[in-house]
Amino acid sequence: MTTPLIRTEKLSKTYHIGGGDVRALVDLSIAIPKGEMIAIMGPSGSGKSTSMNLLGCLDTPTSGNYWLDGQDVSQLDSDALAHIRNEKVGFVFQQFNLLARATALDNVELPLTYGRVARRLRHEKAEKALAAVGLGDRMDHRPSQLSGGQMQRVAIARAIVNSPQVLMADEPTGALDSRTGAEIMALFQRLNAEGITVILVTHDEHVAAHARRILRFRDGRLVADEAVAEPIRAAEAVAQMQPMPEAA
């Protein structure tokens, strides 16, 4: 068996708040192979956000180890983590987090500017990523000129523009209506089918049911690691829905 893309061993995070210790994540040991589509579930305070921050290299663990793509990243400094995030992790957020004054193309290019990619290559890659999410004709639009679903597509294009190993999506459909949400889920499933590892962080069972594997958290601990027998196929669900006029 090949080395998993993500492997953690007794990964823990403790916060010191108001004199007391809060054990946000306790002894997480998991392995996620390349190409997996996984959902992290749990109510707020369960440790799902903490685990996403750790797996996404936004934060460092208090103890334990984390190997991403074979590299131990648990003790890296903030600059090294920034570099890892830039090259290996793509983020998609509930509120899209696009730069309001920049065009779709500029937004998608943003990770590449931090990777010191030459300008022409940046344009090429960003155009390709936008085409891949179906927004090839909206490159010069600003976020205010796009619908919620389109904004999330721009955000996804931004996340995949640097060909990351793993896509971290934090409640990606939380701010969208159900049809648009289904379209976004269909996009994730397609990207996953093309080889990107996808990690969904959600409290929504329906969203989680699109993954092939669900990790359930409670009180900072992993309480269940179950395979989904038959994931929802979002593309088919969209096809069955009543067609809706989409905002320009």
């Binding site: 996404g56 903030s78 995030r85 830039n86 987090n97 943003l110 931090y114």
Partner: protein
């Protein structure tokens, strides 16, 4: 992130809040433009006064014949002449701080050339006079030693006289008559312009002192050693006041003026008066520039304030940039560059306004302004420094943000 990316990001961010950016820069714009204008005004006034001093002859004092007629009617100068050529020699020999003591005589005469004439002040000068008063020859030559000694019939004329008597002609070699004495023009004097008191210095003619005494003034001057005035050049401008005391002491001794008795001479020290004026102008210039500099600091604080607001407003953007791979250094650079862009832009606009304002003052107020390139360089450099100084703290604050907290910031 490259610097080009940083500048592009900064311009985008500043344009997003265009009015706010302009208002923020306004402090720097006002500061820099007033610094430029104030320095230009100060430097202009200073250079004008300096030029005046130089045209009068630097480090000069003039010993005039006395005021024994004080209380009586004026016009008795001729009868009270006590200064002698020997006085001048003694001053030059015995007062160490005196470089040159040049005696001269003067009178006002009609200069006649053919059928034109012109009344001007005619100076009989000694050999050192031209050096002492910084007179230069424009065309022709100065007097030679023989002409000084043997009352040569030669004359040097100022540019005003040349224009009046020989408009459009070359006066060199022409013969004119001064008080019926024919003299040949051997040279013209380089133009000096007006004194600070509005007197035309070029409306004059020089003849050797011996010529003046023996041929032009005549009468009792012919065999006398008396002189009209002694021009004293002091070695060091700092020593003018000290030299003045020494000159006065020596002259009182030579003229045997007892304790408590009044001087029979007057010492005028124009350059010192002007130097004081230059100094006060300089002090005023410094004061104005300091006030302007304070407004620059205030402008800098305005930038810092807005940058702090901007960092808070854009916390989520900062978090996002960090999530996408921005290092702390990248965030720091981005915000410092933004602050510098803001202040430098203000600085450049300020320089333009300052130069324009200076010209306006020069034209409408008839005030001399002098814009020095180094003042502009300093202003631009200073505005960039203001950006770095006042932008650094907010930028550092931004770069210290925790990406997780920043992303979650509402």
């Amino acid at each position: 992130m490259t610097y080009a990316d940083c500048i592009r990001a900064a311009v985008t961010a500043l344009r997003a809040n265009l009015l706010r950016s302009i208002l923020t820069s306004l402090g720097i714009i006002i500061g820099i433009s007033s610094v430029i204008a104030m320095v230009a005004i100060g430097a202009g006034a200073e250079s004008q006064i300096k030029a005046s001093i130089e045209s009068l002859g630097s480090n000069i004092m003039i010993v005039l014949n006395g005021s024994r007629t004080t209380g009586g009617a004026r016009g008795g100068t001729g009868s009270n002449i006590t200064l002698t050529e020997e006085d001048a020699q003694a001053l030059q020999r015995d007062v160490p701080s005196v470089e040159v003591a040049a005696p001269s005589v003067q009178g006002r005469f009609q200069l006649v050339s053919g059928n034109t004439n012109w009344s001007t002040s005619v100076l009989g000068i000694s050999e050192d006079y031209m050096t002492a008063r910084n007179w230069q020859i424009d065309q022709g030559r100065a007097f030679n030693e023989t002409e000084f000694k043997s009352a040569g019939k030669v004359v040097l004329i100022g540019s005003t006289v040349a224009e009046r008597l020989f408009p459009g002609e070359d006066p060199i070699g022409k013969v004119i008559r001064i008080n019926k004495v024919p003299v040949q023009i051997v040279g013209t004097l380089a133009t000096k312009g007006q004194t600070p008191f509005g007197q035309d210095q070029d409306d004059t003619a020089f003849i050797p002192m011996s010529t003046a005494k023996k041929r032009v003034l005549g009468g009792r001057w012919v065999k006398s050693n008396l002189v009209g005035q002694i021009t004293v050049k002091v070695r060091d401008a700092e020593n003018v006041a000290e030299a003045e005391t020494q000159v006065a002491t020596l002259l009182r001794q030579r003229h045997r003026i007892g304790e408590g008795a009044q001087d029979d001479f007057n010492i005028r020290n124009i350059s010192q008066f002007l130097a004081a004026r230059a100094e006060s102008t300089r002090v005023m210039g410094i004061l104005l520039a300091s006030v302007a500099a304070i407004s620059l600091v205030v402008g800098g604080i305005g930038i810092m304030n807005i940058m702090l607001v901007s960092v808070t407003e854009r916390t989520r953007e900062i978090g996002l940039r960090m999530a996408l791979g921005a290092r702390r250094r990248d965030i720091l650079t981005q915000f410092v560059v933004e602050a510098i862009t803001l202040s430098l832009l203000g600085g450049l606009i300020g320089v333009a306004l300052g130069i324009g304002g200076s010209h306006l003052i020069a034209q409408t107020g008839d005030w001399p302004v002098l814009i020095e390139p180094q003042a502009i360089g300093m202003a631009v450099g200073f505005s960039a420094a203001v950006g770095v100084f006042f932008g650094f703290y907010p930028a550092r604050k931004a770069s210290k943000l925790d990406p997780i907290d920043a992303l979650r910031y509402e």
